[in-house]
Structure formats: C-alpha cells, structure tokens
C-alpha cells in the first residue's frame, strides 16, 4: 500500500452558527495522498479546504465517508500528523524554546532527552538567539519559523499546513517558501520525505511547491480537478519560469468564476 492518506467519499455538513442553517461544506471527496508527495489544495473562499485539513488532522470528524491514515481510520489528532495553523497558534505563555519543546514534552520525553533536539531545530529554522523570547515579541516570519520548528520536533511523517504563509509579507513569504522546500527535502528522494498537505490561497505558491494540486469547487466543496505539476525538483530555481506561469494560469482558469462569485456572496 502506497498511500499515506485515503479519503473515501468524505462529506461534511455543519450547522451555521450565524443563522442555524445547514451548510454542506464538503461532498463526495474521494482521494489518496501518496506517501512522500507534496499536495497543495486550492479553491475559492468557502470551498471547505480548511475543513478538509482539519478532518485529516483529527480535529473534526466527517459527516459521511471515512478518512484513513496509514491504513487506520482517523479518530483524533496524533503527533505523527503535524499541523501548522494559519495564524501560528503558538502558546503565548511559552518562549520560543518552550513552544518548540511542547511536542516532546507532551509525549512524556524527559527534559534531558529533548534538549539537544530542540536546540538543533531552533538553529535549523534560524531562531538561534531568540530562544527565550515570547511569541508576541517576534515578527510574523519568526513566529512562522517557530511554529514550523514546533511541528518538526515530533518528527511527523505528515505535515498538515493550513495557509501557513498567508499572514506574512511577500518578501518573507518567498524566503519561507524556499526554506520550507529545503526542510521538506526538495532535493531528496520521495521515500525519505514527509507527506505534505498544503492548503493555500496562493496559486503561484501551490505550483511552486506541490507535486499535485487539488482544485476544489464550492457549495458544496468537491474536487473539481487534480492538476499534476510535472516539473523537476529542486523547484527554487524555477520560480517565475514560463512553465510555472502557464500552470498557474491553468489553475486560475478553474477557480476564477467561483472566486468572483465568492466575493459577492460573502458580503451578504
């Protein structure tokens, strides 16, 4: 068996907190993530891409269908599936080191045994010298790196990333994209890489990072198309290349109409 995650006819219905209406967020999602692949999920606002990610993370359960992770049904969150949140969700009462350390601490690893790993990760993401700062004292890009190091501390085989670079400025985003690729193992072999599910608004970003792109439609969210990104790795040198631009335009064509619709509907 070669798939890390299997989604079988997954649907999600929830009751809107605003008006008590029944909202079908996702419907009939059938899909498999290959082990070691980098998958991006794009789609207009309200297509349920974050909902999909949070169900694989185990924060919520599908209304219909089932989600399998490494052959077992997902019943809740687990340290083998690391999650990165859009606005970081760092613990404000813990320092950088304290945040990075949280995973090993939560799994009951002794302080002496986790110290070296934490220190190495802090250096890996370039936060050396900031160990004792609190998240509020860091810039957006540094918080993002801290969140990344925190996720990596558990050595997860799967990275679930919910618009992790949406809140940083453009220059920082470019730098972090390159770092993300490097940490994932852009130059390495598939078998050694973690499986990634990367939810994003950025179509260029999806093309730059991913092996495949799932394009979701809205109301209810369903898979509209799966786009293969057949570009060689490492990807960083291909940034702004014509091939990438062509793929991005192709993906944008799939989304445009519904994205326009989403803007007007959201203001209602």
């Amino acid at each position: 068996m070669n798939s890390a995650v299997e989604l079988r006819n997954v649907g999600k219905v929830y009751i809107s907190a605003r008006d008590g209406e029944r909202v079908e967020a996702l419907s009939g999602i059938d899909f498999s993530l290959r082990r070691g692949e980098f998958l991006a999920v794009v789609g207009p606002s309200g297509c349920g891409k974050s909902t999909l990610l949070s169900m694989i993370a185990g924060f919520s359960t599908p209304t219909t269908g089932e989600i399998m992770f490494e052959g077992k049904r997902v019943a809740g969150p687990g340290p083998e599936r690391g999650v990165m949140f859009q606005d970081y969700a760092l613990f404000p009462w813990r320092t950088v080191a304290g945040n990075v350390e949280f995973g090993p601490y939560a799994r009951g690893i002794k302080p002496a045994d986790r110290h070296a790993r934490v220190q190495a990760l802090i250096e890996l993401v370039g936060l050396r010298g900031f160990e004792r700062r609190y998240p509020q004292e860091l810039s957006g890009g540094m918080r993002q790196r801290c969140a990344l190091a925190r996720m990596l501390a558990n050595d997860p085989v799967m990275w679930l990333m919910d618009e992790p670079l949406a809140a940083v400025d453009l220059q920082t985003r470019i730098i972090l994209q390159d770092e993300l690729l490097r940490l994932w193992g852009d130059a390495g072999r598939n078998a050694e890489r973690p499986t990634v599910m990367f939810v994003t608004h950025g179509i260029d970003e999806a093309v730059l990072l991913a092996d495949r792109i799932i394009v979701l439609g809205r109301r209810p969210g369903r898979i509209k198309q799966v786009v293969d990104v057949n570009l060689p790795r490492p990807r960083a040198p291909l940034r702004n290349s014509p091939e990438m631009a062509r793929l991005a335009a192709q993906v944008w064509d799939l989304i445009r109409d519904e994205a326009v619709q989403a803007i007007t509907e959201e203001s209602r």
Partner: protein, 269 residues
C-alpha cells in the same frame, strides 16, 4: 483659553508642589475650623489623628489587630481560590455542568456576603470562624466567574495545536487551559482580595458589637474600631484606622500586580 494653547509639560518642582500645597492648605483649614467651632471629640483633628496614630503604632495595638484581620483575609482568600478556580474551570469547560450550576451560583452570588453574618454567627460562633466564612464567601465568586469565563474564551486552536502535538487530556488542562486562563484568574484574584478585605471589616464590625471589650472574640481591626467607638470614644483613632485600612488594601493590590508581572511575564505589557 488653556485648551487652545499648546500644552507644555509642568515644571518638575511644580508637579510635586501643587498637590502638596493643596494637602497642607486642606489640613490647616480643617484643623482651624474644628478648633474655632470647638467640635473636638466629635470631629477628628488632623493633629489628633497624627498623635493617635503614633501612639497606636508605638504600642503595637494596630499591628496586633491588623495581623488578626489579615490572617483571616488570607485564609478566606485561599479557600476562595482553592474552591473557586477548579470549579470555575470545570464550569467553563463542561457545558452540562455550566447549565446545571449556573443558576444556583448566580443566585448565591447575588446575596451580599455580609448578609450571611447572622447565619454565620449562628453556625460558627463569634470566635473568628464566622468572619472567616463571610470572607471566603466573598472571595470565591470572583474566582468562579473569572475562571469560568476565561475557560470559555480560551482559544480553541491552542487546544487543537496541543492535541496535534501529542497532548492528552491532562497535559491540555495543565499546559493550555490553566496558563491560558491565568491572566483572567489574576484579575479575579484582585477583585476577590478587595471583596475579602471589605467583608472582613464589615464582618468584624458586626460581630464585634456585642462582645467587644469582653475579650471573647478574636480581635481584628473591625473589633478594634467598635471598641474605639463605644468604649474609648476616640474619633481621631477611628480616622487613623480608616486610613490604615485604605493603605493596606492599596498595598495588597500593588503586591498582587507585582506578583502577576513576575509570574506571567508574557502577559505583562
């Protein structure tokens, strides 16, 4: 018009001189007015307050009474914290518990703590436990209210983040819920302490009336004031006690804020 002009900061010396001279003028005219109308004994004199204060400080009476009261405040406050924080956190996290207990708690909370004094005396007697009961009663609700609200407002994503990092129920409670609620619990603690301090004075005043001077009740600042009123009839001392009560609550609040800055450095702004 002052409003229309560019505001210059006051001269450094002037900044201290102005309030100080207000105080001196106020005290001097107060003293003069009392002496002119011969109302000493009914209206306190600034010079008399100073004299009483010095005497009561030198012979240690004020310290003895104050330590009695403070002791009860601290014990009552601790009981309030130990009962109120876990209860509040539980209510804030378990909706069923919230729904079941909220109405009863809100009703109890609406009863002024000092209204319990007669019942407390009936059940616990006048030896100090009645006052302690009233103080604990006053202190528990700010803890319950603030802890439960903090727990309800806790950022769900932080809980999700912790669970995704491998945290089980107890780690989530200990390392996310409790630290996340600490700032609001501290605010509750400051309210609880000021309630407790206000209640101990009221309770001691009420309990002290019948038995002051007979040496039966445990002496606190409230009892001392009752004795001063009925037995000694010393208005200067009464005002001195009032000033001390104000000073102590100011010190307590400042102290708690310091503790908060020390314990929650991430929350200090």
């Amino acid at each position: 018009m002052n409003l229309l002009r560019v505001q210059q900061p006051l001269d450094v010396h002037l900044r201290w001189l102005l309030p100080l001279s207000t105080l001196v003028i106020l005290l001097a005219s107060w003293e003069a007015a009392v002496r002119a109308t011969h109302t000493q004994g009914l209206v306190p004199l600034p010079s008399g307050i100073y004299r009483s204060g010095t005497n009561l400080t030198l012979d240690g009476v004020i310290f003895e009474a104050m330590s009695g009261s403070l002791q009860r405040v601290l014990i009552g406050f601790s009981i309030g914290a130990l009962a109120g924080i876990p209860l509040g956190l539980a209510i804030g996290t378990i909706p069923v518990l919230n729904r079941s207990l909220r109405m009863v708690l809100d009703t109890l909370r609406s009863i002024a703590p000092i209204a319990w004094i007669p019942m407390a005396i009936l059940w616990l007697g006048v030896r100090g436990n009645a006052a302690l009961f009233v103080v604990a009663y006053a202190a528990v609700f700010p803890f319950v209210v603030n802890a439960s609200q903090a727990a309800q407002l806790i950022d769900r994503r932080l809980v999700d983040a912790a669970r995704a990092l491998g945290a089980g129920r107890w780690v989530v409670i200990r390392s996310v819920l409790v630290p996340g609620c600490m700032p609001m619990i501290f605010t509750g603690a400051r309210i609880a302490l000021s309630f407790a301090w206000a209640s101990i004075i009221a309770a001691e005043l009420a309990i002290g009336i019948k038995i002051a001077g007979q040496g039966r009740s445990v002496a606190g600042i409230g009892q001392l004031m009752v004795e001063t009123l009925y037995v000694k009839r010393d208005v200067d001392a009464l005002v001195f006690y009032m000033l001390v009560i104000g000073l102590v609550s100011l010190l307590i609040d400042t102290g708690l804020r310091r503790v908060q800055q020390r314990l929650l450095p991430w929350n200090a702004k």
